[in-house]
């Protein structure tokens, strides 16, 4: 299931595409995050925080090239410990799949098909994600170049069309930001970047430096957030807060020569990215599950993960309060810190202890 060689550039682009979708479908009313120029500070802090989170992982993967966090867990903690870690990652990625699918469903049923059944949207998108995941990481990562090229073109058109209406006075000054909102914003943007955990799993498939790839992804991602913020707030100002999906509204207000009302085309491109977003989480959940359920064949594993993710997503999509609680739980950063920071740290500590033990004992 893992197999294949993926160049680190390809992986970075893949995860970037996945993360961009989360940004494009961000709902301002869902949280109390900050707005204004202070967002730039928050994103800068986000780069630093994300890199600090992965410091143990840098050391671990530098010492153990060609292995991922689960391989190392089995080696370091033994079968039981390794299975527990694999179970943790499986649960985490299942949760990410369900949340991503529920957010995707919310987006599609708001802007495209308000009267459609949420189960239908969830089913189709998870099914597509599962089918894509079955093609393997190499195939998925190769496809991201095409998707990214199309997205960049659509982004360029959007930027070009809204540029005339960008005014600097739309940006709320830094002094209007507050510390608690900054912290909230930082936690929110980090917690939604589950791609950081994906790196831990894909470390064995990367052809290139893990640390460089991770840092490049983090830097480009948060720099991208800054760009999106500058675009959205610069052109729409306070109007953005009245929109469920500000970037979608941005795409719709722009006029490109005589072409207007082309947001459906942009949304179609975002759907490409959304399916990749879900596909990589399904893939990661399958890979994690294969460590403790290795006897199951690949199609059965993918189907099982898809069914569980569908069930969870349906639960979330049908219960807004539960969805909000789950998002809050993710926002505490505990789950992300566990998979990105804690497990590699434990690997580092326990592997050092094993190394210190004299031979024969």
């Amino acid at each position: 299931m893992l197999g294949g060689n993926v160049r680190v550039r390809q992986l970075v682009v893949l995860l970037l595409v996945s993360r961009i979708f989360t940004t494009l479908t961000y709902i301002p009313q869902a949280g109390k995050s900050t707005s204004g120029l202070v967002t730039l500070l928050v994103n800068g802090a986000g780069i630093v925080a994300a890199i600090l989170l992965a410091l143990p992982a840098f050391v671990v993967f530098h010492k153990n090239k060609g292995q991922n966090v689960l391989d190392l867990s089995y080696t370091t903690f033994g079968r039981v410990g390794g299975s527990a870690v694999a179970g943790l990652y499986t649960l985490y990625f299942l949760a990410c799949t369900a949340i991503a699918a529920a957010k995707f469903e919310y987006f599609v049923t708001t802007v495209l098909f308000p009267q459609s059944a949420s189960a239908a949207v969830l089913f189709t998108v998870i099914l597509t994600g599962a089918v894509i995941a079955s093609f393997g990481l190499e195939g998925i990562s190769r496809s991201t170049l095409v998707v990214m090229a199309v997205f960049v073109l659509s982004l360029a058109i959007t930027v070009f069309s809204v540029f005339p209406i960008i005014h600097t006075y739309n940006y709320l000054p830094m002094a209007m930001g507050s510390l608690d909102k900054m912290v909230y914003g930082l936690l929110e943007s980090l917690s939604q970047t589950a791609e950081l955990a994906f790196f831990m799993l894909a470390a064995s498939s990367i052809k290139g430096s893990f640390a460089k790839g991770y840092c490049a992804f983090v830097t480009i991602t948060f720099a991208g957030f800054m760009l999106f913020y500058l675009l959205v707030e610069g052109s729409m100002g306070i109007f953005a807060l009245s929109q469920p999906f500000p970037f979608y509204t941005l795409a719709s207000i722009g006029e490109f020569f005589s072409f207007e009302r082309q947001e459906a085309i942009h949304v179609s491109i975002w759907i490409f990215m959304g399916t990749l977003n879900i596909a990589i989480y399904v893939w990661a959940a399958c890979v994690s599950a294969s460590y403790w359920a290795g006897k199951l064949k690949k199609p059965v594993l993918i189907a099982a993960v898809g069914i569980v993710a569908f069930g969870l997503a349906w639960l979330l999509a049908g219960n807004l309060k539960l969805f909000a609680d789950v998002l809050f739980a993710m926002r505490t950063l505990i789950p992300l810190a566990a998979v990105v920071f804690l497990v590699p740290l434990l690997l580092l500590v326990f592997s050092k202890r094993r190394a210190k033990k004299p031979c024969g004992k």
Binding site: T110, S116, P173
Partner: protein, 374 residues
């Protein structure tokens, strides 16, 4: 074989899921082009101008393919529902270009109306919002000869006139943005139907100012130009001045830009609006061969004075008389004098304190050689 079986199963599943995505064919939809909202006697009266294929059997159809339908309700949702029930078709707002709001509806139900359209996922943020003294339905139901004036024609009229500064695009985006911002107030373009020979045309009649969702003032057509000069929204305005020797001179702006900066003096914000205007002379009543050497500078000053007068007129009516900041001055204060802005608990208290200083610098770039009989 397994792959083919799986593909077939998936195909059947997808087809069966198709029923979960409700669909209306084109002939099952009302393709709305314009909406007029009036409010009388506690009821919303909504009139729709929609497209009907010329071969249709609708008696309201004219050659251009536009028809009208109306409905009433206690709120907008009920009014639209009554229309849908009467027509037995789905309403499609995606191609709606125009929203005309009657004065009564604007004054009493402004927030409700814009909230409804802002939250509708089909309505485009760039639809034009207009108001009128007459009934809103009169605007979209007027006819030129046999044919209803189509929403596209009204919108084109507004757009074309906006280039000369005599109107502006008060879109849903702009209206919602100004309504949400506590420091900004809203200006909505006012139109009226006028008779033109045997036809009826829709013309821009002025501007309506709203504050906290209520109408506070009506501005005339001259005020619109003033607003546009300050917002730098003019592409080719024609300014006519009179000179003692030359008579009437008309100059057309080629490029205009307005720069705004803010200073604080004696606890009050002073907004400096500097307009740079490049223009060319279109027409002179009496020619002067030495115009460039002798008269040009004077004409430039006169044109600048005329523009400044229009700006002052707009500022006077909106800001000084009615405390309506439709010029984004508060946003500039927030951006450039943040500490001063933050010193107010309620930022709307800044508006009455604003003083504006305008200056206009006109440069004539082209003077066409005079065509004279030899």
């Amino acid at each position: 074989m397994r792959k083919i079986s799986l593909a077939l199963v998936l195909a059947v599943l997808c087809v069966s899921l198709g029923g979960c995505f409700p669909v209306s064919q084109l002939n099952e939809r009302i393709l709305i082009q314009a909406i007029a909202v009036d409010y009388e006697g506690g009821l919303f009266d909504v009139t729709l101008q929609y497209f009907v294929a010329p071969s249709g059997e609708n008696n309201n159809t004219d050659v251009t393919g536009s028809a009208l339908i109306s409905g009433q309700g206690e709120n907008l949702s009920e009014a639209f529902r009554s229309i849908a029930v009467r027509s037995s078709q789905t309403l499609f707002f995606g191609h709606n270009r125009l929203l005309v709001i009657g004065q009564n509806a604007l004054d009493q139900k402004f927030s409700e109306i814009i909230h409804f359209f802002n939250t509708d996922h089909q309505t485009h943020p760039n639809i034009s919002i207009l108001t009128t003294f007459t009934k809103a339905s009169d605007i979209i139901s007027n006819k030129i000869g046999q044919n209803t004036i189509r929403a596209q024609e009204i919108e084109e009229t507004i757009k074309n006139v906006a280039q000369t500064g005599d109107s502006f695009m008060s879109t849903l985006f702009y209206v919602v943005k100004s309504h949400m911002d506590p420091t900004q107030q809203t200006a909505i373009l006012k139109v009226q139907p006028i008779e033109n020979f045997d036809d009826v045309r829709i013309v821009v009649d002025g501007v309506t100012l709203l504050k906290d969702g209520r109408i506070v003032a009506q501005g005339d057509v001259d005020m619109i130009r003033g607003i546009n000069w300050i917002r730098s929204d003019i592409q080719k305005a024609v300014v006519t001045v009179e000179d003692a020797d030359i008579g009437l001179i008309s100059c057309e702006s080629i490029a205009t830009s307005a720069k705004t900066h803010v200073t604080i003096e004696n606890g009050a914000p002073i907004v400096w609006v500097d307009v740079n205007n490049t223009c060319r002379v279109l027409e002179m009543q009496n020619g002067d061969p030495d115009f460039i050497q002798t008269k040009m500078q004077q004409v430039e000053q006169e044109v600048s004075a005329a523009i400044q007068a229009e700006m002052e007129h707009a500022i006077d009516i909106a800001l000084y008389q009615n405390d309506c900041d439709v010029f984004d001055f508060c946003n500039y204060i927030r951006s450039q004098q943040t500490d001063y802005f933050l010193s107010f608990e309620d930022p709307s208290q800044i508006v009455p304190l604003i003083q504006v200083r305008t200056s206009v610098n006109t440069r004539i770039e082209r003077v066409h050689p005079r065509t004279e009989y030899r």
